[in-house]
Amino acid sequence: MSRLFLEYDTGQNWLLRTKPLWDDLLELVRMEARRLAAMFPLGDIAIIMRSDNGWHLRFPKAHLTRDEEESVMWASLSHFGHIWFSCLIKDTTLRVSKKPRKNSHEPYLVEILDLGEN
């Protein structure tokens, strides 16, 4: 069984294009977390983390099969490349260390979202 890891990043997804130094579009990520939690049983909390140019969204208490996980990922607005690659290698991963280049940092915790009302 799997948890659900999603990545909201710059790139194809114009809606979630964000600046590295601004915590802009956080509200959209919150809305997305609540939207997904309302559609699928993903547990009572969602964890929002800041990555280099975007956001990581984790549902640590989701218990999904691999197929369910892929289905929810396709239903989300997360980064297309990340979903495609996750399907290719049949595993979803999110970066936890920094990249070996300048201006990169380890993703850090921004918010633990309570989804209890869903």
Binding site: R3, F5, E69, G81, T92, L94, V96
Partner: protein, 316 residues
């Protein structure tokens, strides 16, 4: 013991303000008491001086001294009465009041709950190389199971935990060694020698494989593999649910190699080897150290090891 109560910030600050005002009042009363005491000693000094002067004074001056001495005698009991009231009545009441308020004030602050104990888990990670394309980055991919401690509330892994850090380093060395075809699957103390010293081929734990890539792997990847370094590897956490490890032993802890992959820029898998093999196990002493750290129950054997380690100063 009385039950702790939660109060609002405004209530807490107003209570603290009232307590502060009472402490100030006590300070003022003490100061007043000391001032009265000073006045009494001043009168006593004056009385002594006047009495010493009597043998040398004329008749008129003696009358004046007598009048002043009578005034001093009448003033002293008045001051003593005031002091007695402060010492015996006002100060004890105020002290008791402050002590009671302080007790109540302490009860209003609810201490934070103790943090939940960290639990040992087996987690899955991915190590990959940094490249701009394909998306996400990386053409060399490896998948591993390692040990980690996890926050039970958020499911977040403590990446700074010593064993996790060590095992990630071991994974990195094995990955580089594997793709260079030069890995020697040695003990962790010899990891510094793990590659560059066996040009003939990959030496696994039991077998001696040849350095030979599949025909599907383009030569550009072999060139890239030969230039790989530990520094360019990125760590990714898998969404696979961590498995709790309630009874850690050297056999079920360590670094487990799951899979090696090479993916080209078009997303075509050029190499996919599922190994499912242990690469490294911690020693019995390391397991005991972890169990002591996580406050887990030790077996009699482990208890003996713990005592030996404690004598050597390896653990607290």
């Amino acid at each position: 013991m009385a039950e702790k109560r939660v109060v609002t910030w405004a209530e807490w600050t107003s209570e603290r303000g009232r307590l502060g005002a009472k402490a100030l009042k006590r300070k003022r009363l003490r100061s007043e008491y000391m001032s009265l005491m000073g006045r009494i000693s001043g009168l006593a000094r004056e009385e002594r001086r006047l009495i010493r002067r009597i043998p040398y004074a004329d008749i008129i001056e003696r009358v004046i001294i007598g009048t002043r001495l009578r005034t001093i005698d009448s003033e002293r009991p008045r001051l003593l009465t005031q002091m007695r009231h402060i010492r015996t009545t006002e100060l004890p009441i105020l002290e008791e009041d402050i002590a009671r308020e302080r007790r109540e004030f302490a009860l209003k602050i609810v201490p934070p709950p103790p943090p939940p104990p960290l639990k040992l888990h087996r987690i899955k990670i991915r190590l990959y190389t940094f490249e701009r394309l394909p998306t996400p980055e990386g053409s060399f991919q490896t998948f591993w199971d390692i040990d980690a401690v996890i926050d039970p509330e958020t499911g977040l892994v403590d990446w700074d935990w010593h064993l996790t850090k060590d095992e990630i380093q071991i994974c990195k060395y094995h990955m580089i060694g594997y793709f260079k075809g030069l890995a020697k699957w040695r003990s962790p103390e010899q990891l510094g020698l793990a590659y560059f010293d066996e040009p003939a081929g990959i030496a696994y734990e039991t077998e001696r494989a040849k350095y030979k890539y599949s025909k599907n792997v383009p030569t550009e990847f072999i060139a890239k593999a030969e230039a790989l370094t530990v520094g360019e590897l990125i760590i990714g956490e898998s969404s696979v649910e961590p498995k709790p490890n309630p009874e850690p032993t050297p056999e079920n802890m360590g670094v487990f190699v799951e899979r090696f992959m090479i993916i080209d820029a078009d997303g075509v898998i050029k190499w996919d080897e599922i190994r499912n093999k242990w690469a490294w196990h911690p020693t019995r002493n390391q397991v005991v150290k972890v169990k002591v750290e996580l406050k887990m129950k030790l077996t009699p054997e482990e208890e003996k090891i713990r005592k030996e380690m404690k004598e050597k100063g390896e653990i607290e």
